[in-house]
Symmetry: C2
């Protein structure tokens, strides 16, 4: 198989859709999460995001990227208004409905209704969880950083609550996402289940090196 | 199966390793990339990262998270010095060697040697690629944002060059990561291959709704 080299000038002159597909693919596999929010009138919103990332465990901080606020972004404006949101893992049985939330809906329509999800509330979080999800996080908005190079916004939140199936939580705190059916996204619209290759544990070559002395 | 609810106060009082395993799991599946750099003396460095994310396609910008610079971070200091780095997808055949780069090595040791990878150079990028990778990105450092809540740093780079196998690049720009053998990470140390469920294409309910009128 032959290697192909694509340089920046080629990327810049590509057809827009071709470039979007390419650049969205090359970071590798991404998380697949539904973010639930509600607006000041209590209308719920649900949208799929592939940019949720871990920022730190103590305090438990996560980030995700919101695209430029030049057109209305309900997720962003609801979070700014209510201060809360939920992150709900997409699993194999809800892939199609989850992807449908990426479409543009009228302002007065809730994606929960339109995409056949059930909103669920806890006392702590002013945002709807997805009842159908197996792993759910209740998030409190903490801060935002505007990425000045392209106007995207890194939203930072703290985990206030984790709701998950007892069976997928292992003795050392590891959550078996594969057992929970959590899927992963490549590019904009390709969904994948997973096959575990190996769980390694902590790598310790310093010790290995010292043993040889 | 029964749901378990874990709240913030429980998270805060957990054993450190348990918490790290838990909070690193709950974002969903993550990208698996080796980041290659070199220092001012030409010594190469290679380290695995699970935080590479897409920020935008035009210009083609990616981000990744570097942990606090309170202890020496070779990847970060090399990028700040040279202005360049490479991102190389981990695939199924190099999972074990790739994970080994996460260990602590002495300053004078290159992970390329220690973990059995071959450095490869192009004219454009002052950083080593991983010859064994199937999908490689040559990156130019653009900016950094310190996340003041926990001292982590969001490093932003622009794609200057993409090197990939012709066969995995599809007609619409989509890169078939599964065909390339790219793996995904859950938690800190669990590696997974993937099975494609479906590629959906762009969701368009506005049109669907109008058709009903």
């Amino acid at each position: 198989m032959k290697n192909k080299i694509i340089d920046l000038s080629e990327i810049e002159s590509m057809d827009r859709i071709y470039r979007i597909n390419l650049i969205n693919s090359v970071t590798g596999f991404k998380s697949a999460n539904l973010i639930g929010t509600q607006n000041e009138y209590g209308l719920s919103n649900l949208a799929i995001f592939s940019s949720v990332i871990h920022l730190g465990s103590n305090p438990p901080l996560l980030g995700f990227i919101s695209r430029p606020a030049v057109i209305p972004r309900h997720t962003y404006s609801n979070i700014k208004h209510s201060g809360y949101y939920t992150i709900n893992h997409v699993h194999t049985d809800i892939v199609e409905r989850s992807h449908k939330t990426s479409a543009k809906f009228y302002d007065t329509i809730s994606e929960f209704d339109e995409c056949n999800f059930t909103p669920e509330f806890s006392d702590k979080i002013s945002a709807p969880y997805v009842q159908e999800a197996n792993i759910k996080l209740g998030m409190k908005f903490i801060d935002e950083y505007e990425i000045k190079e392209n106007g995207t916004i890194l939203i930072i939140g703290k985990i206030e609550e984790i709701i998950l199936n007892e069976a997928v939580l292992k003795d050392d705190g590891f959550v078996d996402l594969q057992e929970a059916g959590t899927v992963t996204i490549s590019g904009l619209d390709s969904y994948h289940s997973t096959d575990k290759i190996h769980r390694f544990g902590y790598a310790r070559p310093f010790a290995e090196i010292l043993k040889k002395w």
